[in-house]
Symmetry: C2
Subunit: 199 residues, 2 copies
């Protein structure tokens, strides 16, 4: 429908997650009409991220150095490891400012339907870390969905013999949400995980 | 929150239309994990579109040459000009395969709130075209919203003295839609524009 270069750009944009054909077209026209320097900044940012960013050799978080900022930070508590699916989960947890331990990024979750097993994730690297590092607690912070739960129960079975404390993030009502909007599984978990209130 | 290059990419992606902070982050991580060649293809498509695509000197549609494919096509009827807001509207109309005339892309719509007046659009170029080209009919196909209607009435007043036929696309019920889902303005227009049915 469009001339060569425009259609190529629409096609490439349409391959990005969450970008449908209409948005791809809208973004392409935005770039067409943008200042050349602004469009080039985006192109350069893509090139530069691929050239400079790699994955931390220890925890597989994104990093511009051999090891990421968190692994290099001596103030972080190396006795607690938080296991997450993706590097963006690290950022979500860091934003809470509640956690001072270190991370291990699996690179996904176990999903037999998608053919993803433990060997496709950084599970073996985690086994090695638990051998090498003085870890007391493993917080399994995989997503509260089918794949995340399957991964969590696989990991807790795998590491049970090590004697390390294994925990899972609490499930319950989201803060600021309405009780009658919660789905029944979340509400059930919130009941099961109820805590005593000290008056 | 992220290290330099990743944050830069998230910032640049977040400037695109319809891409919020969450999607920018999701797209950035997708690109981080993509094959380098795939990410580079997107970067190159952006660079190439800025290098090769310009706007048609006659109708301001996107074009890789001095004049766009439609203006260069001798089979298109130069006596009918369809005036649209954006180049993507040309593609939408071309997709109908109903229209065999030529186009004029305004580059937007009149919007006093956004400080956009006729001089910010390709209106003067349209005046010149109506002087130079043997146009019989001007189809004003601006969007059926406040700005588009304002632009349409401005243009129809401007060109009324020329004696050229000026038309506007029909408003009415979208084909395939449900009558009771139509808003009252659309339904009102559908009544006002009702046509005789020949049995």
């Amino acid at each position: 429908m469009y001339e060569g270069a425009v259609q190529d750009l629409i096609d490439e944009l349409g391959r990005l997650p969450g970008v449908g054909p209409k948005s791809a077209q809208r973004i392409a026209f935005h770039l067409l009409q943008a200042e050349p320097a602004d469009a080039q900044r985006l192109a350069d940012a893509i090139t530069r991220v691929k050239a400079t960013v790699r994955f931390c050799a220890r925890c597989f978080n994104v990093s511009e150095a051999e090891e990421c900022r968190i692994c290099r930070d001596p103030r972080r508590d190396g006795r607690v490891l938080c296991v997450v699916e993706e590097a963006r989960d690290v950022v979500a947890i860091e934003r809470t400012r509640e956690y001072r331990g270190r991370y291990h990024v699996l690179g996904g979750a176990i999903s037999p339907i998608d053919g993803i097993g433990p060997d496709d994730l950084h599970v073996r690297d985690l086994v090695r870390r638990l051998d090498d590092e003085p870890v007391d607690e493993l917080i399994i912070a995989t997503n509260p969905n089918v794949e995340g739960e399957a991964t969590a129960s696989y990991l807790s079975r795998l590491f049970a013999p090590l004697g390390v404390r294994i925990t899972r993030l609490a499930s319950g009502l989201p803060v600021g949400g309405d009780l009658d909007y919660a789905d029944e599984v979340t509400l059930g978990r919130a009941f099961a995980g109820r805590r005593d209130v000290r008056g």
